[in-house]
């Protein structure tokens, strides 16, 4: 981090001096999440979710390693060892419920983190790399969560594995062999369960590695903030510690209250009853639904109901199955080019009237509708609704965002972060007038977002 006024780490005694010379880990922590990291002073509570996501990853790794001590990845006993954990292992029920609900809360936190980034355009230069690494983390999380859901070997585990690996079967020419290769067989069985367990254990540590890159990339330009204007001077920032450690501590308390409430009082609310039935390859549940956090993408997958044909000839160009798979993966892949689709010089949605309307009245209801349809049976009217929502989803990112950023007239920005917090800034040109300038509506007062 490069702000000139950042505090420097000073070892206090001979021992810390010696450590600092040999392995400057305390210095690294000090500069990363200590007093040595100056952070914009105006971050709101939406900026808590990064730290919370890290905490969730920790909960998952700790409870997960413990569950792995008692679980056996073999189709004969996987379901029984899961029940063994619930019934016989000391606090086993707590570990399992914490892990299962921990996954859900991890996704709640991550979605809030992502949508904060979308609203405040945190993905824009100079922070593109942070965003790209974040999307990578999200993809790894999805893979990890999917494989973890297979492990209890209940009905939803089995049929989820079958359906999701079936997606790869849609790929032309190699699809079927790819699916067989992924499963190590023609249907989910021991080979699949064992490799899913192995990878489910591995991936969280890969995620932890990418998280370190994500934080590293964050510390180069420093944190974004709700106004979207860059830090200009020392009065725009406060040191991370104690200001944001205290705020994150409070946020963590709120998070833990919600999390433990679910774990102790409604532990199965976000799960599916069918997963308490042991996997049965001969009987499909009436309604296969993924875990709630996959529902929007599942709805996009199912929105494509008909093959792409050349009209009146019946020649199939792309099968519906493949279209759905492309759209589902595409819906996340568009996030990779997001930083280059939105060219508005203003970051924060606060100062972008048109963008703001599309965000709150377009994207958010669209995601809600997709989530709802993803959990509904594949029949009318849900198919129609998910098709409309899918169409909006792609229009929003690929069409609306580039056009809006071109034609929108943003509201005037405050001169500085200090001004946005204190109402005035002594350093602003003509400072006495600056608070009144808010209503002036001159695009000329925009700060270029370098």
């Amino acid at each position: 981090m490069s702000f000139a006024w950042a505090k420097q780490y000073e070892p206090k005694n001979d021992f810390t001096k010696w450590i600092d010379e040999k392995l400057p880990l305390p210095r690294l922590v000090y500069n990363a999440v200590g007093a040595g990291y100056p952070v914009p002073r105006n971050l709101n509570y939406m900026w808590n979710f990064g730290v919370l996501a890290g905490f969730c990853l920790m909960i998952q790794i700790i409870t997960g390693v413990i569950l792995a001590m008692h679980y056996a990845a073999n189709t004969e006993v996987a379901f029984a060892t899961t029940e063994h954990i619930m019934r016989n292992v000391n606090s086993g029920w707590l570990m399992r419920y914490a892990h299962a609900n921990g996954a859900s809360f991890f996704f709640i936190v991550i979605y809030l983190h992502i949508f904060r980034g979308l609203y405040y355009s945190s993905y824009k230069a100079p922070r593109e790399m942070i965003w790209l690494l974040g999307v990578v983390i999200f993809l790894l999380m999805m893979a990890t969560a999917f494989m973890g859901y297979v492990l209890p070997w209940g009905q939803m585990s089995f049929w989820g594995a079958k359906v999701i690996t079936g997606l790869f079967g849609a790929i032309p020419l190699v699809g079927e062999s790819l699916q067989t290769w992924l499963l190590g067989g023609f249907a989910p069985d021991n080979a699949a369960l064992n490799r899913f367990f192995s990878l489910h254990f591995l991936l969280p540590f890969v995620i932890a590695g990418v998280v370190i890159l994500h934080i590293w990339a964050l510390h180069i330009p420093g944190s974004s903030n709700p106004t979207g204007i860059e830090v200009k001077k020392e009065s725009d920032t406060v040191p991370f510690h104690p200001y944001y450690t205290a705020k994150d501590g409070f946020g963590l308390g709120i998070f833990l209250l919600a999390f433990t409430f679910m774990v102790f009082f409604l532990p199965n609310m976000l799960g599916h009853p069918d997963n308490y039935i042991e996997a049965n390859p001969l009987s499909t549940p009436a309604l296969i639904v993924p875990e709630w956090y996959f529902l929007p993408f599942y709805a996009i997958l199912r929105a494509f109901t008909d093959d792409l044909t050349i009209p009146f000839t019946g020649i199939v160009l792309i099968q519906a199955k493949l279209l759905g798979v492309i759209a589902m993966f595409g819906s996340i892949l568009v996030w990779f080019i997001l930083p280059w689709l939105d060219k508005s010089p203003v970051r924060s949605g606060h100062y972008r009237p048109m963008f703001k309307k599309f965000f709150w009245f377009g994207l958010i209801p669209c995601m809600a509708l997709l989530t709802y349809c993803g959990g509904a049976p594949a029949e009318q009217p849900y198919v129609l609704l998910s098709q409309i929502a899918t169409a909006y989803y792609f229009l929003h990112f690929l069409v609306i965002l580039p056009i809006v950023s071109q034609i929108e007239v943003p509201k005037p920005l405050p001169y500085s972060i200090t001004e946005s917090v204190l109402g005035s800034d002594d350093a602003a040109p003509g400072n006495s007038a600056s608070s009144g300038a808010k209503g002036a509506g001159e695009a000329g007062s925009l700060q270029p977002a370098e």
């Binding site: 019934r87 016989n88 292992v89 606090s91 570990m95």
Partner: protein, 181 residues
Amino acid sequence: MADANEANEGVRRRDFIHVAALSTAGVGAAASALPLVTQMAPSADVLAESTTDVDVSAIEAGQSIKTIFRKQPLFVKRLTPEEIAEANEVDVADLRDQESLTDRLGEGNEDILVTMGVCTHLGCVPLGAAEGENKGEYGGYFCPCHGSHYDSAGRIRKGPAPTNLVVPDFAFTSESVIRVG
């Protein structure tokens, strides 16, 4: 003056709230570490007491059988009169772990010696239960791992083992059947 006092008071109160918050967090972290540690202790199914029934009628004098009690080997041996005499000859006061043969057999039990097949040194299974195995210098059991010799009553006589082979709780449920555990 008054201002300075107030400021001091303020500082102390301010510190108090931070100290309280941090120590509460510490207590919470410690408390949540507890289940993370206790989960490694034996689970309820492992702790559940289980019994093993052994039919001793088919064991002839001098023979022993190896069976399993709570996942560990169990030796059940019918002693010969010579072995009984030999075991009774020993002066209990000279033993490392002072037990007489009757202590080990229990009331109303003439000749059935029930011991765990687990050397008390480091847990290997001693030899001597099966026909033709090395019974050690004292004609009982011999642990090949580190050379512990047990006598015909399963008492440690030579070698590194600190105590006699453990005798589990058992009782005769009929003339010919014992229930261990």
